[in-house]
């Protein structure tokens, strides 16, 4: 029983997609189910995912030039790791374009605080329940979210110096 099968069996209705690619199990779930899944992964003794290794997001706007269809635009990707069982798990949360919002995991794992601030800063995805969701990498006066696919790479908003 790999962790992915346990999660699938537990949260069957919530799961949009689940597949294995190059040995990595990944499950895509709806945004509403995230807190329950995270609680489940952390508390159940035989899973015991005590490490939230990485939390990031991917923007699938116009993915692969339109050849591969994607119903949703954003995916927030969580990488979990268990120290005791030494196994890994990837949970992806699908978010559409209109109001990308997902629950915050700050109270389960302390590192989620900064990761979520960075995802908000780079992608503009809101995290409900985050203590202070400010920008972490860019400066406050920056407009827009740079890692979105529709933000051109060298559109500068300089604080001082020439306005190029």
């Amino acid at each position: 029983m790999t962790p992915a099968q346990k999660v699938q069996e537990q949260f069957a209705p919530e799961i949009l997609e689940a597949h294995v690619f190059r040995g990595d199990e990944m499950i895509t779930i709806r945004a509403s189910a995230l807190r329950a899944v995270a609680q489940f992964l952390k508390e159940t003794p035989e899973l015991d995912f005590n490490f939230l290794m990485d939390l990031t997001a991917v923007d699938y706007l116009f993915y692969a030039g339109g050849r591969i269809a994607k119903e949703w635009r954003f995916e927030v990707v969580y990488h979990f790791f268990s120290l005791k069982y030494n196994h890994r798990m990837r949970i992806k949360v699908a978010l559409d374009e209109k109001n990308p919002e997902v629950d915050s995991l700050c109270d389960l794992w302390a590192c989620a605080n900064w990761y979520e601030r960075e995802v908000w800063d780079m992608f503009g995805i809101r995290f409900k329940g985050h203590p202070n969701c400010k920008r972490i990498l860019m400066y406050e006066a920056f407009q827009g979210h740079p890692l979105r696919k529709d933000y051109p790479v060298n559109k500068r908003q300089p604080l001082i110096g020439p306005q190029i």
Binding site: L61, M138, V153, N154, Q157, P158, G161, P162
Partner: protein, 186 residues
């Protein structure tokens, strides 16, 4: 008294030379270190490629006590105002050394987050290219700086990036064409 070259009579030219000589061998540098060039700056300061042989071995971490501003490593848009404030708070006579290609022209980080060359915000005296420049390059840059100090020159003037000391306005534009993502229609 900015030393002028036009009709420097015997006394002032001798004094300028003496001043230049004195300043040349006692460079107190403010290492404004941010990124990978910092590693080569450490190597240049350490005993193998010793910078102290040229009198520049003593970094001062306050702009009040330093006369050369070593800008080492990429300058992002967020830290540009800090660099400008530190430059303004340095006492005269002051020189600026752009250490590494990120400070000279922004290097290969032609994106929304990087200042493409610090001479768009402060006047620069010596450009040391290289990513990171080898310690020998740095020492060569230092010697060129010393010659400039000996002659008493200083890249002066308001840093109006478009006209006096900044690069020509054309060069200011985001001149990399290839790296740009064509605007995607959803």
């Amino acid at each position: 008294m900015t030393p002028s070259h036009a009709s420097a009579n015997f006394f002032t030219s001798k004094l300028t030379d003496a001043l230049g000589w004195a300043r040349k061998f006692s460079i107190f540098q403010y290492p404004f270190v941010t990124a990978c060039c910092g590693m080569e700056y450490m190597a240049t300061n350490a005993s193998h490629y010793d910078q102290d042989r040229f009198g520049a071995g003593f970094p001062r971490f306050s702009p009040r006590q330093s006369d050369v501003l070593f800008v080492v490593g990429t300058i992002s848009q967020k830290i540009a105002p800090v660099l400008k404030t530190v430059y303004d708070q340095m006492c005269e006579p002051k020189w600026v050394v752009a250490f590494g290609v990120c400070t000279c022209t922004g290097g290969f980080y032609d994106n929304y987050a990087t200042v493409m060359g610090i001479d768009t915000i402060i006047p620069v005296d010596i450009y040391i290219p290289g990513c990171p420049p080898r310690p020998e390059n740095v020492i060569d840059g230092l010697i060129k700086l010393q010659e400039k100090i000996q002659k008493g020159e200083q890249s002066r003037g308001l840093y109006d990036p478009r006209l006096k000391t900044g690069r020509p306005a054309g060069m200011q534009q985001g001149y990399s064409i290839e790296g740009q993502i064509k605007h995607r229609e959803p």
